[in-house]
Amino acid sequence: MTTKTNKITNLMKKEYSCVKNALDFSNPVKNKVKISKSKIFGMSVIRIVILYGLSFMIVYPLLQQISVALRQTSEINDPSVIWLPKKFSLDNIRLSIAALDYWVALRNTFVLSTLSTVSQLISCSLAGYAFARLKSKYTNILFIFVILTIVVPSSTLTLPQFIYFQKIGLLGKAYSIVLMSLFGQGIKSGIFIYIFRQFFKGIPIELDEAAQVDGAGPFQIFLRIMLPSARGAIVTVGLFAYVWQWNDGYFSSLFLRDTTKVLTTAMYSIQHGVHGHLQSLGLWELIGGDVTKNPLFLSTILNTAAILIMTPLLIMYFFVQKLFVEGVERTGIVG
């Protein structure tokens, strides 16, 4: 019994001292601790406000676009509709799918992005590894050219490339872009080579030496040791190559023209001609005069088309998002 009361009194004493300490402003050390604690708290509040605010700013336009896309065409400039449409309708989406020739363009984009990503991965990993580990007298000189391919604007090169593809008859075919990626000159290949080089440089050289002692040749070292441990770099480069190819409008509008439709070029071509497109498809008359006279109608269609282009990427991003962030953070760009 006595021990229990002792314990309780001890506890009370402790609590009392805690309260006393908390109210004690005379102790300078504790004051400092308190100030620094409150500073840390304040900083974290500021941080959260900034970060959440900015991510709100990033997501807000997206949500608004989606909300506009789901509206009925007659509700386009109804000021009472802010977020949720009064009547959900897929009309906008249907119309823009028709205008974009969406499924064909989506398939083409998908095939083109996949092919060019794979070929970028092959050529850039080989070159990056050669620059990092298989050094000779010339690799350092050649690496200057890698930097040059990054720095020179692609607009200085596209015209002769265009004429060249015209000569060999690859203009308008997806092979032109795939060929360039296969030879390490695709979209931003220089950056990918740089990433691979930095990454392979970061792998300890003792690994190579151990493998060499065990009798592996340089190619075996690359295949069995380097590639499996380069997962982070492969994921980073692969995702960037895929996304950049998907979003690219410059090269595809130049080299693919209208013969191979991808999403971005389809977007280009309907930019000025939604009206004509829908008319030629015979949809214009079906919509009704009230709607088509509305100047915002065409903009809504364009907006919906933009969402349709972005959606597959966004869906894929949500699936690989963890892989992406981790891959980039662990190794990716800095190595």
Partner: protein
């Protein structure tokens, strides 16, 4: 029969010796050969898609090049194209020099803002707080959705009315402005404030990859440095300036180069190049503009390189 057997033996020996030969090749030569094999596709691509087009562009820029029925009509002009660009070329009431100067100005204003902003955000994203995975996921959305075509299309038509483009200035509305006027803030300050708010989104959209670069750089910093600093009693502010900043600073050049390279496609100079190529069909003129564009950017990069090189702390020269 015997001779055949002998022959077989001979072949067998040959095979053995060739096997031996394979083994006798020193590791270094093998490495060199493999290096050549690995670099071969890239070198072919470099010659085919980089060096050849580059010099062709330089050659075109000195000529009058016009497409005529599938063939090119080439006539030597000397520096005529360049003279034309500086003296006469006007597109949308703007001379070339003015457009170039404006795009450089935009770039030079954006560059430090992007640099500071992305470093700040990367530092924040690196620290622990609630909901970090979610916020990170959102911050990388601009990296995924950076299609400039969508931006161009939406900027032209939609954002004026609905302000819902990815570049839109949704805070740029009249109610907010009226509120600020009622509060009693000066008009000039309000315009500045609204402009900067509108800019934030542009900057966020432009600095996705840069945030990634800085984030991975910060995560590569060994943790024991921070622990030592904490034991020594350094504040967060001090550790940022004494540890994070110097160790991240080698990447400033990378980020700057990336930002400049990224601005190429959006640059208004591109409109000149495309206009003279697709509308006027003066290929020589278009080449000359792109060469000028290239030279200006190289000069800019070179100046930045000279300035940065002295300031940057170099941690390890080997890398």
């Amino acid at each position: 029969m015997k001779s055949i057997f002998n022959k077989l033996k001979h072949i067998n020996e040959n095979a053995k010796s060739s096997k031996n030969f394979k083994r006798q090749v020193p590791f270094k030569t093998k490495t060199k050969i493999l290096g050549i094999i690995f670099l071969l596709p890239w070198i072919i691509g470099l010659v085919m898609f980089f060096i050849y087009p580059f010099f062709t562009t330089v050659w075109y820029s000195l000529n009058s090049v016009r497409p005529l029925g599938g063939k090119l009509e080439i006539q030597f002009l000397g520096l005529g194209n360049y003279k034309y660009i500086f003296n006469e070329l006007v597109y949308f009431d703007k001379t070339f020099i003015r457009v170039m100067w404006e795009s450089l100005q935009i770039l030079l204003i954006n560059l430090p803002i992007i640099l500071i902003f992305s470093l700040l955000i990367a530092t924040m994203l690196n620290s622990n707080f609630r909901g970090r995975p979610l916020v990170r996921m959102m911050f990388f959305i601009p990296v995924i959705l950076n299609s400039n075509i969508i931006e161009i299309v939406l900027k032209g038509s939609f954002s004026m009315v609905f302000s819902s483009s990815s570049n839109g200035s949704f805070l740029d509305n009249i109610q907010f402005e009226n509120y600020l006027i009622e509060v009693g803030i000066g008009q000039s300050f309000i315009t500045f404030l609204l402009a900067s708010i509108a800019r934030i989104l542009t900057i966020v959209n432009l600095s996705g990859v840069q945030i990634l670069i800085f984030l991975s750089a910060i995560q590569a910093i060994p943790n024991h440095l921070y622990e030592a600093a904490e034991i020594e009693g350094a504040t967060k502010y001090e550790t940022f300036w004494k540890i994070t900043f110097p160790l991240v600073s080698p990447l400033f050049l990378t980020v700057i180069i990336y930002t400049i390279v990224d601005s190429f496609i959006d640059s208004p100079v591109m409109q000149f190049i495309e206009y003279s190529r697709d509308n006027l069909r003066y290929y020589g003129l278009s080449s000359a503009i792109s060469i000028l564009f290239f030279i200006t950017n190289m000069i800019l990069l070179f100046i930045i390189f000279l300035v940065i090189r002295k300031e940057v702390f170099s941690y390890d020269d080997k890398n």
